[in-house]
């Protein structure tokens, strides 16, 4: 019996039938089609893990830098000096207020507390606002928010003439006080 290596060599001398020409032609045609579809010939190799990690790290760095640059604009706005809208309530046009604020210095008896914007259903306990009256006294006089005892024309503290005056007996248009009139009559007597 020949050794096994010799028997293997005898086996190898038996040549398998070659691949058919049709199969070769089909493979060649497919190769040509693939090359025409892939001009560069070589397929791109799959990215390695190191490359993927590098891509991820660079993306993270870019994002962090962008956040640092945009941080001043992305921060919360500064706190307003006035209360926010839900606390103070919506702004109401000035004409809707029953009493408008005056620029002049009002007398103390014209300072009243009026519930603000009662017409809009926003009555809050203790939510009153002190308004000065000086420019629209007629509005103040008739407004229903004013207690009845405090309604009426405000005192006119700006009168220049004294209240107790009588016409001058001489018929002049000059007004004099009662005390001045008595002094004048006594002097004549």
């Amino acid at each position: 019996m020949p050794p096994i290596n010799e028997f293997e060599n005898d086996l190898k001398r038996s040549t398998p039938r070659p691949l058919s020409d049709d199969a070769r032609a089909a493979v060649e045609a497919r190769l040509l089609d693939a090359e025409s579809a892939r001009p560069r010939g070589e397929p791109r190799a799959a990215p390695s893990h190191a490359a993927l990690i590098g891509i991820w790290a660079s993306g993270f760095a870019i994002g962090a830098a962008a956040m640092l640059i945009l941080a001043p604009w992305l921060g919360s706005p500064p706190e307003p000096s006035t209360p926010s809208a839900p606390i103070a309530g919506p702004r109401v046009p000035e004409r809707d207020f029953p009493i408008a604020a005056a620029t002049e210095e009002p007398p103390s008896d014209r300072l009243i507390a009026v519930p603000v914007a009662r017409e809009f259903g926003r009555r809050h306990a203790g939510d009153r606002e002190v308004l000065t009256v000086g420019r629209y006294p007629s509005v103040l006089r008739n407004h229903r928010s004013i207690p009845p005892g405090r309604r009426g024309p405000p005192a006119d503290h700006n009168e220049a003439a004294p209240r107790n005056t009588v016409p001058s007996p001489s018929g002049s248009a000059e007004q004099m006080t009662r005390r001045e009139l008595m002094d004048e009559l006594l002097d004549e007597a």
Binding site: L11, S14, P16, R17, L19, A26, V27
Partner: protein, 163 residues
């Protein structure tokens, strides 16, 4: 580069792959052709394209064989493809008759046969065969030598019968 490599594989491994595919189907050329076309379109080039081709050819041949069995009985296929010889007509082996060799190979266990064909005519290494049949290298070595011994006994018996 890839085209040249595939072309070289087609020249060097075409016949052996055809013989390898003959174990499972009667249209081995189609199986080899489909395996090569799959290699052309493979997205990632395999580390060992030769071993990849053997595995792909085996799977293609098995699928073709199942389709053939669905179409006709074995006797009908033999009648249709009477000249479906495994080896070429050029007698380069004065020792072994090629028809006897084909008969002896057909009588081997399918796993043993694919190991013998891939080892003898495909010249695959034991490590590659281990990947191909999904077993250890030592198991491949053991099964290969057992198959070769069985093949020798079968051929000696046939030679003795002929004489």
């Amino acid at each position: 580069m890839r085209r040249q490599q595939i072309h070289d594989l087609l020249e060097s491994e075409g016949a052996a792959l055809r013989l390898f595919a003959t174990q499972w189907c009667h249209w081995p050329d189609d199986a080899v052709q489909e395996a090569f076309i799959d290699l052309v379109d493979v997205p990632v080039w395999p580390d060992n394209p030769r071993a990849w081709l053997y595995a792909a050819t085996r799977n293609k041949a098995k699928n073709l064989g199942r389709a053939e069995r669905r179409r006709a009985t074995r006797q009908q296929r033999v009648a249709e493809h009477a000249q479906d010889a495994w080896f070429s007509d050029s007698h380069r082996s004065p020792v072994i008759d090629q028809r006897e060799l084909q008969t002896a190979l057909e009588q081997l266990d399918p796993d043993e046969r694919q190991i013998v064909v891939a080892r003898v005519w495909g010249e695959m290494k034991l490590e590659e065969l281990a990947d191909l049949v999904s077993c250890s290298t030592s198991a491949v070595h053991r099964r290969y030598h057992a198959a070769i011994a069985k093949l020798r006994r079968q051929l000696e018996v046939e030679n003795a019968t002929d004489q």
